[in-house]
């Protein structure tokens, strides 16, 4: 299992992988956007290699995709950017008393995941199926044999190999997206469902494999913040835009212009389609794929997996915009701490800054870092999650 991760990270750093994802990014955008796609993608600095899920062989800049051609067409539900993946599902039969141990053993000997169904189809005997996933490159027979050995089974259990269609699980994952009424008169609706309230403000989304469907507490907290603070005419920066939901919502609330940035090409592709679905053109919304940053603490013996961010003021250079009236960042604790300088720098004095993607227990860490820069700080919470907001102090000089 560990070997697989090493391999993946190493693969992701090759220049071939970088140029490949760039190619896919451009070609997928052609079919999705009715505006010139080049306006949406002003720059692709480097691919965030640890977020590009490329796997499989990359030869001469072309990867082996089983669904490459079909995924470039617009599907109603499929992800806009193909996720190449070579893995198999293996159903291992064993006596139900052994299933837990066998499952753990399989995980130790090469399986990436194991699943045990509660109601088992093959349980007319005392046997159950442990369903496991192996990534490409694993010797399945050897793994199962070692696993069985390690728990004292006398013979290798019977097993069956199945190829999983990528679309199956992707569709399954997206089926959990339902229309959400975030607040009165504001809905987020999947593209394939008719809005329950046609009169309301409806944000139409095809999320693909990006984050932000209006369902998650952090998305709701940020949407409510934007809903309250946008008066009209503002310039918005959406850091970690995902599906673009926050930038799109801000524009619908009356903002004049929004920029969405993300380190994940899936996100940029999804946001691009969603802008179109909501009749938002590149004059209103620009999207940028930016390099991810590493903090020095994650450099150890693991293969170097990301390209270092170029400098702290990349956003400014990338977007050619001065400063923003509202900066919203729904990401994670560590990126929020590492990017504090950039986030603060990109805001005008007195601008509203909203930070989320953090658990309630992480609020103190955020306050420690950001209270130097923010005044009038407010913390809103929903379930275990929190959003910290405030205005950039006017008398800060950041060098």
């Amino acid at each position: 299992m560990m070997k697989a991760w090493h391999f993946l990270k190493h693969l992701n750093c090759t220049p071939a992988a970088a140029s490949l994802s760039l190619h896919l990014l451009r070609s997928s955008s052609f079919s999705l956007s009715r505006y010139s796609p080049s306006l949406f993608f002003l720059s692709v600095h480097t691919t965030a290699s640890d977020h590009w899920p490329a796997r499989g062989q990359v030869k001469n800049g072309h990867a082996n995709f089983s669904t490459a051609s079909s995924s470039l067409a617009v599907h109603s539900m499929a992800s806009p950017v193909p996720v190449p993946a070579n893995y198999v599902s293996v159903l291992v039969r064993c006596h139900k008393d052994n299933s837990d141990m066998l499952a753990e053993a399989l995980l130790s000997f090469g399986a990436s995941s194991v699943t045990m169904n509660e109601d088992d189809v093959c349980s007319d005997t005392d046997e159950i199926c442990v369903s496991s996933i192996f990534l490409e490159g694993e010797d399945i027979n050897m793994s199962i044999s070692h696993a069985a050995d390690s728990i004292g089974l006398k013979e290798i259990p019977r097993y069956e190999v199945k190829i999983i269609e990528e679309d199956d699980w992707m569709k399954g994952a997206q089926e959990s997206f339902h229309p959400v009424e975030v607040t009165e008169g504001l809905w987020v609706v999947p593209k394939w469902i008719t809005p329950p309230d046609i009169q309301a403000m409806n944000i139409i989304l095809n999320p693909g494999l990006a984050f932000g469907t209006g369902d998650h507490p952090t998305t709701k907290l940020c949407l409510l913040l934007l809903h309250d603070c946008i008066k009209g005419g503002e310039h918005i920066l959406d850091y970690g835009t995902g599906t673009g939901i926050l930038a799109i919502a801000a524009l619908k609330f009356g903002a004049a212009f929004a920029v969405g940035v993300d380190i994940d090409s899936q996100a940029i592709a999804s946001a691009s389609e969603n802008a179109t679905l909501n009749n938002i053109g590149p004059d209103k919304l620009q999207l940028h794929l930016i390099a991810s940053q590493t903090s020095s603490s994650c450099r150890d013996d693991w293969p170097s997996r990301v390209v270092e961010g170029e400098n702290a003021f990349e956003i400014d250079r990338v977007t050619h915009k001065d400063k923003y009236d509202v900066v919203i960042a729904n990401i994670l604790l560590n990126p929020l701490l590492n990017l504090a300088d950039q986030i603060i720098f990109s805001a005008k004095p007195g601008a509203i800054i909203g930070l989320s993607g953090i658990l309630s227990e992480q609020v103190q860490n955020i306050l420690q870092k950001y209270s130097l820069f923010l005044e009038g700080i407010d913390v809103s919470k929903m379930d275990d999650w929190a959003c910290v907001s405030g205005r950039k102090r006017k008398n800060i000089d950041i060098c």
């Binding site: 899920p53 995941s113 994952a173 560590n334």
Partner: protein
């Protein structure tokens, strides 16, 4: 488990176990197929898992157990890698000694042990153990692997 919990427990569809690197869950294999097959909200899991594993060193392989309920909701627990894993990593070795007690595989200092203990204390099931107790447990495991613990490494 409290009686109330048993009575109000939702029907379980499946139990999924997998290893996910801390703060790096993505909607891609193996997470994607494992969860997608049960119509679970993949992105919500990734967001939740990544947020909850912020305190671990990036890429630490976390052991995740997901209970998928029949109504497509889910719960999950996260455990940091085994003490054996940490010891091997700290000592820079692939496996313990073939003859622990007779052949030393490697040597670590108390400081290493203490650092490991601090990380393991984050694990839910160890939260009630004192740091001292966890440390003793780690030293025991180290000895059984043929790893010697010394006060200071020179």
């Amino acid at each position: 488990m409290a009686a109330k919990e048993i009575l109000t427990r939702r029907p379980v569809a499946a139990t999924i176990k997998l290893t996910v690197p801390a703060a790096a869950a993505r909607p891609a294999p193996p997470v994607g197929p494992a969860l997608g097959q049960y119509r679970l909200n993949l992105m919500a899991f990734c967001k939740d898992f990544n947020a909850r594993t912020q305190k671990y060193k990036p890429d630490t392989p976390m052991a995740v157990t997901i209970t998928a309920f029949k109504d497509n909701t889910f719960e999950f627990t996260v455990k940091s890698p085994s003490i054996t894993w940490y010891l091997k990593k700290a000592a820079g070795i692939e496996s313990g000694s073939g003859r622990p007690g007779h052949v030393t595989a490697s040597t670590l200092s108390l400081k290493h042990v203490y650092e490991i203990a601090k990380v393991k204390q984050n694990d839910h099931y160890l939260q009630n153990m004192s740091l001292e107790a966890i440390t003793k447990s780690i030293i025991g495991t180290a000895n059984s692997m043929g790893i010697q613990i010394v006060r200071d490494l020179d």
